[in-house]
């Protein structure tokens, strides 16, 4: 789960990481009030879960009350790469002497935390890595030993930061590691890590991704959940406890188990179709979950046909069939369904569907047969964006612009650790900001 800048800074402060003074604001009035309290100049910052805020005009300096009002007005409601700005953070402006970059993340390849430091902060980390891969110093931390002073010294000397701030930057990294562990974070990133003219070290930005599985340990963080960037179906699915990801095609897809659902998307794409979504109804899916899932899939108006691909292990096919029958009783279904049931109680499931004789429900025996059928029923729609498995479009950097950072940093990195971190474990699961 990604946090907004001001939420991340709240966690930072609780672990002793220094940040400039600031106040969140949801209205222009609140923004002006915050400016008055803090004293000008202040920086008015859009709070969105995506990068490129500065370039999009979402970060502005205000020297007085009028400018604060003007900027707050302009930024609130702004659309930054598809994310509407609902909140601002008003922060005391800092006198910048140096801008560094620091991050702690989970390196999935090495199965260890990794800390990174660069003296070339303030810009895209991708860009730093491109200009000078050696400019990003990296160390792995043994999770049973924790961050030691020597880790900080190694990073500082290797990154070549100013000699007079080696100690305070090391101390900052140690506190960031405390935050990383203490908050069960997957990523803690500071860009820029600022050295002020008074030679103080402060975190000017905060990108924090926390582990959703650990939220039970952090009830206050759990309250911070931001629905920004989540569309209607995704929100609905989350409320029903389903794993749903919206895609841009017209074939609705439901399966049980993430791997099988991913494989189903691939097979549909190979058959020339375009998946409208990923929906994992989970292991042991019961009839009610199936009803909810049908509702979520059909609430996307682009869906022209739906494929159910179930291989029952814990999940019982008769439960899935019963759920589908119930859904058809409750929801006005106008698109065709293709259903493939295999595994536990598959015969019972198929019998239930045969007895119910639902309009527009086609039962197929194999996964490939079902994929071909649903693509045929869905029709062409538009030009396929993905036609063959081999023709997957080049991935668009999830974190172009001032973000995504830690993960992107290593793409062009030269050492093995970097390449591993780039692999994805280090990557925030949502588009970062």
């Amino acid at each position: 789960m990604d946090l907004l800048e001001y939420q991340g800074k709240q966690l930072f402060r609780s672990h002793g990481v220094p940040t400039p003074d600031g106040r969140p604001a949801q209205t222009t009035e609140e923004a002006v009030e915050a400016g008055e309290e803090l004293g000008y100049p202040v920086v008015v910052k859009a709070q969105v879960l995506i990068g490129g805020r500065g370039k999009a005009g979402g970060i502005k300096v205000a020297n007085d009350r009028e400018e604060a009002r003007e900027h707050a007005d302009a930024i609130l409601g702004m659309d930054i790469r598809g994310f509407a700005v609902h909140e601002l953070y008003i922060e005391k402006a800092s006198q910048i002497a140096e801008e560094y970059y620091a991050a702690i993340l989970l390196d999935r390849g090495a199965k260890q935390p990794m800390a990174m430091l660069s003296r070339m902060g303030g810009m895209d980390v991708e860009e730093i890595a491109e200009r000078d891969p050696k400019a990003i110093a990296r160390v792995h931390i043994d999770p049973l030993v924790g961050f030691q002073d020597f880790h900080g010294r190694r990073l500082a000397f290797e990154a070549g930061i100013a000699a007079d701030v080696i100690r305070p930057v090391g101390a900052m990294l140690a506190r960031l590691y405390d935050a990383f562990v203490g908050e069960d974070a997957m990523l803690v990133e500071v860009n820029p890590l600022l050295v002020t003219e008074a030679r103080e070290v402060v975190a000017l930005d905060a990108k924090v991704t926390v582990d959703a599985n650990a939220l039970y340990k952090h009830p206050e963080t759990a309250q911070m959940r931001n629905s920004g960037g989540e569309d209607e179906q995704e929100q609905m699915a989350r409320e029903h406890g389903l794993t749903y990801v919206k895609l841009d095609g017209n074939v609705g897809i439901l399966g049980n188990g993430a791997g099988l659902v991913m494989s189903t998307l691939d097979v549909v794409a190979q058959a020339g179709g375009r998946p409208a979504n990923f929906l994992d109804a989970g292991g042991g899916s019961r009839a009610e979950a199936i009803v909810d899932a049908v509702e979520v899939i059909l609430s996307d108006p682009k869906v022209d046909a739906v494929l159910f691909n179930i291989f029952g292990g814990i999940t019982r096919c008769d439960e899935v069939a019963r759920g589908l029958v119930t859904a058809f009783g409750q929801i006005d279904v106008t698109v065709p369904f293709v259903v493939r049931l295999d595994g536990t109680n598959d015969q019972e499931g198929r019998q239930i569907l045969a007895d119910a004789n639902l309009d527009g429900v086609h039962v197929e025996k194999t996964m490939l047969g079902a994929a071909a059928r649903v693509v045929e029923l869905a029709g062409d729609g538009e030009t396929p964006s993905v036609t063959e498995t081999g023709e997957h479009p080049a991935p668009v950097g999830a974190g172009t612009a001032d973000t995504g950072a830690a993960s992107q940093a290593d793409v062009s990195g030269t050492d093995a650790a970097g390449a591993e971190a780039a692999g994805g474990g280090a990557t925030p699961p949502e588009p970062t900001r």
Binding site: L144, V181, D184, D211, N256
Partner: protein, 292 residues
């Protein structure tokens, strides 16, 4: 032979008294697995359908000689149960539990790597050696004894591929679900190394998915250390970058970790990659025909 679990397995289940624990534990026992004990603190002295319950794993090991543990407790207690099993001298822990915090697993993984206990999972379907033992939630009736070693990050996709293989007459030495979390106890490489040494395994099928670089590293390992034929499948070609597809592990972002990159890395090392589960079985048939 087989790997990880077999005729010598003596199983203790943490969480046997829970609803899911009882259901799957009894399933495993009906399959023929030697289920010797359950552990639930405070319920020592009771039994579940004749299987004795102990307060601690240490007691269970001392009384029954258990050598394998299955963890079936809620996520907030699972890391502790794995560590308890390792401390009690258990050789293999299979953790089914989904949703364990990553930092808990970091500590568990690091500790276990320094000792003798192997871990499969968490967030996995378990290990099945057909005809010998089933430890986990894999529906055993789809699988028969044979020469294919199957290792996968996913559950239901494993059943799909296993079923396609069965349709072509293949049985399995062992089926191992290593789990879909960012930190799992055993990697593809760990399991494939065991298949390479297992006389019953003639062909290896690995089933990966987007995210991380496990598959790429496994490709290099296979090229250097594996003499048996390997067929691979990768799920997630159509996954958009930057989105999580259910498994915490299945994340794509940037240019690495994509299904395409993984398939290419495997093929570059001579591993055949099936583009659909059906094609995996076709390639396996072709390779075993060639080997015979």
């Amino acid at each position: 032979m087989s790997v990880l679990v077999g005729a010598d397995t003596k199983l203790v289940i943490s969480g046997l008294t829970g609803r899911e624990g009882t259901f799957h534990g009894m399933n495993n026992r009906r399959y023929g697995t030697d289920l010797v004990a359950g552990v639930t603190p405070g319920k020592g002295g009771q039994d579940v359908e004749g299987v004795p319950i102990f307060d601690t794993v240490h007691d269970a090991v001392a009384e029954t000689g258990a050598n394998t543990s299955m963890v079936f407790v809620p996520p907030r207690f699972a890391a502790d149960s794995i560590l308890e099993a390792a401390d009690a001298g258990i050789e293999l822990v299979v953790c089914i539990t989904e949703g364990i915090p990553a930092h808990d697993m970091l500590r568990v993984y690091t500790h276990l790597r320094r000792g003798q206990t192997k871990l499969i999972g968490p967030n996995c379907p378990g290990v099945l050696s057909p005809g010998k033992a089933n430890v986990g939630i894999i529906p055993a009736h789809f699988f028969s004894q044979g020469g294919v070693g199957l290792v996968s990050r996913s559950g239901t996709l494993t059943y799909q591929i296993g079923n396609e293989l069965a349709g072509r007459g293949f049985g399995n030495s062992t089926i191992v679900g290593i789990g879909g979390d960012p930190i799992v106890g055993s990697s593809f490489i760990d399991v494939i190394a065991q298949f390479e040494d297992d006389p019953e395994t003639e062909l290896i099928v690995m089933c990966g998915e987007i995210g991380g670089d496990e598959e790429e590293r496994t490709a290099d390992y296979i090229a250097e250390h594996v003499s048996k034929p390997v067929v691979a499948y990768i799920a997630g070609f159509t996954a958009p970058p930057g989105k999580t597809m259910g498994h915490a592990g299945a994340i794509v972002s940037g240019s690495s970790g994509t299904a395409q990159a993984k398939a290419e890395a495997l093929e570059a090392q001579g591993v055949r990659v099936g583009r659909t589960p059906t094609e995996v079985a076709e390639v396996a048939a072709e390779l075993s025909g060639a080997a015979a």
